[in-house]
């Protein structure tokens, strides 16, 4: 069953067509990867889905409900959250607060509750805290609760972004290069985490350049080049697609040209 549908989506920045009539379906419960050369328009697709950009043409819908024109914060409420390619944490706040804020759209308390502190609000706060700590434990960050987000190392910050996106109980999770800046060992751990997240019923849409990771966990892969979809299929199919090899993958057998 298709959860998210992109229908003829196009966006232009001035003269540049960053995403060009893309049609794509993401099925409930799968891990779909989007790959492509730098500047192909992958992050832009994420920005379109989350309404940070509005498409010049085309429609996007989540389980039949249209997303175009709906403000970003509503989209999170509808069940799509994301991480960013360049990390965007609330850097001066604690790790725990970062994750609690992630649960914002599942909370109800308003100003009245804030000022009256009725038991209902206390309960909600306790629930949020519990959920947040669980998410942190899941991503192996529980020991860093009180740390300021900006003091975490790069890899930890990436995981914190995932934790923040997770607590909102999304239907669809968008991960933009989650493994960037991680070493191979850490990538293995991350792969395992992504798989476990999927197993809790969350659909995953992933942008990543690390082929080992992409090939290792995705069920399907879509390839973008100059804003156009040039291939779509299982990892095996994509890996052997000539267009993809030419535009993106390369030989995969780097050899020093010199000596050593």
């Amino acid at each position: 069953m298709s959860l998210l549908t992109l229908d003829n989506v196009t966006i232009r920045f001035g003269g540049l067509t960053a995403v060009d009539t893309v049609n794509l379906e993401i099925n409930q419960g799968e891990i779909l990867a989007l790959i492509g050369p730098n500047g192909a328009g992958k992050s832009t697709v994420f920005n379109l889905i989350t309404s940070i950009y509005q498409p010049t043409e085309g429609t996007i819908s989540l389980a039949g409900k249209p997303l175009v024109g709906i403000p970003t914060h509503k989209i999170a409420e509808m069940g799509i959250t994301r991480t960013f390619q360049t990390i965007r944490l609330f850097s001066e706040l604690s790790v725990l607060d970062n994750v609690k804020i992630g649960a914002h759209c599942r909370g109800k308390a308003g100003l009245f509750q804030a000022f009256t502190r009725l038991p209902g609000m206390k309960r909600e706060e306790a629930e949020i805290e519990e959920k947040a700590i669980k998410a942190l434990e899941f991503l192996d960050l529980a020991t860093k609760c009180e740390e300021m987000a900006k003091n975490l190392s790069y890899g930890e910050q990436r995981r914190l972004e995932i934790a923040r996106a997770l607590v909102s109980k999304p239907k669809l999770l968008l991960l933009d290069e989650p493994a960037a800046g991680m070493n191979p060992q850490e990538k293995v751990v991350l792969m395992e985490m992504i798989r476990r997240i999927r197993d809790t019923g969350i659909t995953i849409f992933l942008v990543e350049h690390d082929m080992k990771l992409v090939m290792g966990i995705s069920e399907r892969i879509a390839v973008l080049d100059y804003g156009k979809l040039i291939a779509e299929g299982t990892p095996l199919e994509v890996r052997s697609n000539n267009a993809v090899i030419e535009a993106y993958l390369g030989s995969g057998k780097f050899k020093s040209r010199i000596r050593r």
């Binding site: 992050s43 920005n47 940070i52 960013f84 360049t86 965007r88």
Partner: protein, 295 residues
């Protein structure tokens, strides 16, 4: 038609007033664009320049050009010293900390001037003969011509300097990423000092010219000047030098326009209302590039 010739005259008036604002805003926007801080002491440097020019002009040996150059030099030094003492230690902390430090400096300078020169408004001695040219039905004074000319000239040369010179490029690099700039071999401290020197020198020169034009110098004159410069710089687009010029002119013209349409008691409100209105349609100022932050 009297209304029409009035209107032409009012346009000239607005242009002259706007040029003064532009003149003050040029240095302001340059420092503002590069250090990224709201330099509230800028108005006081302007005031200091006006006083320096006044004191020099009152000594018998000095003519108008020497007074202008002298004041420029004095404020250059003042600007560099202020940056060293009050801003440099705060370079890596929040912008608002630097803002408060700047407010402190501005209190300091204006109160100091009250102590030294008294609170009274001073007139400027006549440094050169004011002449009036009649063109058709409206008049333009030589002071107005000088102000408009100087503002335009400075705008052009400053723009060329910042866009094409090596130092100008280094300044822009600092504005965008100080660490990266230092890795290119840019001496950050020197660039910022030079920026402050030029900006403050311009403030000083503007102080003298405004002093001559309005014929009034006063220890608290900096506050209003600083606000107008701030408004002009933001209206034009932060850091944009042609923008500062346009912003200054727009504010000057709307103030006069307010008077012309019989709203002189609402003149300042009028100018700010236009400012807000423009920003609502162009949230990064008239010449400002849209903050194109890629997500």
């Amino acid at each position: 038609m009297p209304i029409l010739n009035n209107l032409m005259q009012q346009l000239v008036n607005g242009l002259a007033l706007g040029s003064i604002y532009a003149l003050i805003a040029l240095g302001y926007t340059m420092v503002y664009g590069i250090i990224g801080m709201i330099n509230f002491a800028y108005g006081e440097i302007f005031m200091f320049g006006a006083y320096a020019g006044l004191v020099l002009a009152l000594t018998n040996y000095v003519n108008v050009y020497v007074a202008l150059l002298g004041a420029t030099f004095i404020t250059m030094v003042l600007g560099v010293v202020i940056e060293r003492v009050a801003y440099r230690p705060l370079r890596r902390s929040s912008r608002l900390s630097a803002l408060i430090s700047a407010i402190g400096v501005s209190f300091f300078l204006s109160s100091l001037m009250v102590r030294v020169k008294g609170p009274n408004t001073r007139g400027f001695p006549t440094l050169f003969e004011n002449r009036i040219f009649e063109i058709g039905d409206f008049q333009i004074t030589i002071y107005q011509i000088v102000i408009i000319g100087v503002a335009g000239l400075l705008m052009l040369s400053l723009h060329l300097f910042v866009t094409y010179s090596k130092m100008g490029r280094a300044m822009r690099a600092c504005a965008q990423d100080q660490d990266a700039a230092s890795l290119m071999g840019v001496n950050i401290d020197r660039v910022i000092s030079v920026t402050f020197a030029i900006g403050s020198g311009l403030a000083g020169a503007a102080g003298v010219l405004a002093g001559i034009y309005f014929n009034a110098v006063q220890p608290y004159m900096g506050l209003l000047a600083g606000l107008k410069a701030f408004a002009a710089a933001v209206l034009g687009g932060i850091g944009s030098i042609p923008g500062a010029m346009i912003g200054g002119l727009v504010i000057g013209l709307t103030e006069i326009l307010g008077v012309t349409v019989n709203l002189s008691e609402y003149k300042d409100a009028f100018a700010f209302a236009i400012l807000i209105l423009v920003l609502l349609f162009k949230p990064s100022g008239i010449m400002g590039r849209k903050a194109n932050k890629k997500v």
